[in-house]
Symmetry: C2
Subunit: 135 residues, 2 copies
DNA sequence: ACTAATGGTTATAGTAACTATAAGGTCAAT
DNA sequence: ATTGACCTTATAGTTACTATAACCATTAGT
């Protein structure tokens, strides 16, 4: 009983990752080279499906493709300590928090700018003034 | 009395934007072509200094270089309404908020993941498990 | 059986905003 | 005169895709 196979389009529909992107992941070695049908179509199986979902979830947490490559290779070593995984998560958390800090500062500044506009002409525009000058 | 001029390196030190980046901005037309010394060095004046600071401040608020190009061209039309500027700020604010929302969700998920690691081996790792499976 | 629509294949170039590298010319100081 | 710091250009690399072109395979409809 041979396992049911997907085409790249099916896999794409099932995972929410587009065919081009799936091929791209294969090209950069994030996914193993797919087996092919007689006519040359890529064929995917359950394991590919799982791997791709793992990638998508990790992307959703902001991990880079390089990070994910490492995570996947860690995940494959069943018997080893998961400390490396934990470390990666911590690092990612720090990065996200640092980015959050930056964005919150931007939000605050943009709110201030937005509030100070009184709808005149450029010459009197406080926004332009602020961007242009003063410390 | 001719105005005092800077080299690209001096301008870089004064604005916190690297020489390569300044040249890059010139190349893409964000800065006007610099005048040159006899030997071919770029020479900058007060106006360039201001313009570059405007760019840096706008970058600091997360505006894209294309946005900044528009902002600069708006800023040059002293007599026109500043509505366009205000709109750009609003749009940028929305973008920042949307990005904040995404990042906060990531932060939350990463915190959960991080908390659930108990330091065993990969096989039992709840992090890997979470990334791998379940809805 | 023929045809059109859909979906698969490859390779190449473009995106944003730089960064890195190479190979060379200039300038101020020793 | 030579060192070192700084300037010049052009080209390629980065991240994670997206867009385009040109072509082959499969499937649904007539």
């Amino acid at each position: 009983m041979s396992e049911k196979s997907y085409t790249v389009g099916r896999l794409a529909d099932d995972t929410g990752i587009k065919p081009v992107t799936i091929r791209y992941y294969e090209k950069i070695g994030l996914l193993p080279k797919a087996t092919r049908s007689e006519s040359g179509y890529r064929l995917y199986f359950e394991a590919d499906h799982s791997r791709l979902l793992f990638i998508r979830r990790s992307r959703g947490l902001g991990f880079s493709l390089d990070d994910i490559r490492e995570l996947l290779s860690l995940a494959d070593r069943q018997q080893e300590s998961c400390a490396g995984v934990d470390t990666k998560v911590e690092q990612q958390l720090e990065q996200v928090r640092s980015r959050l800090k930056d964005l919150r500062a931007m939000e605050y500044e943009l709110e201030r700018l937005s509030a100070c506009c009184e709808g005149g002409v450029i010459m009197d525009c406080r926004i332009i003034e602020t961007l242009s000058g003063e410390a």
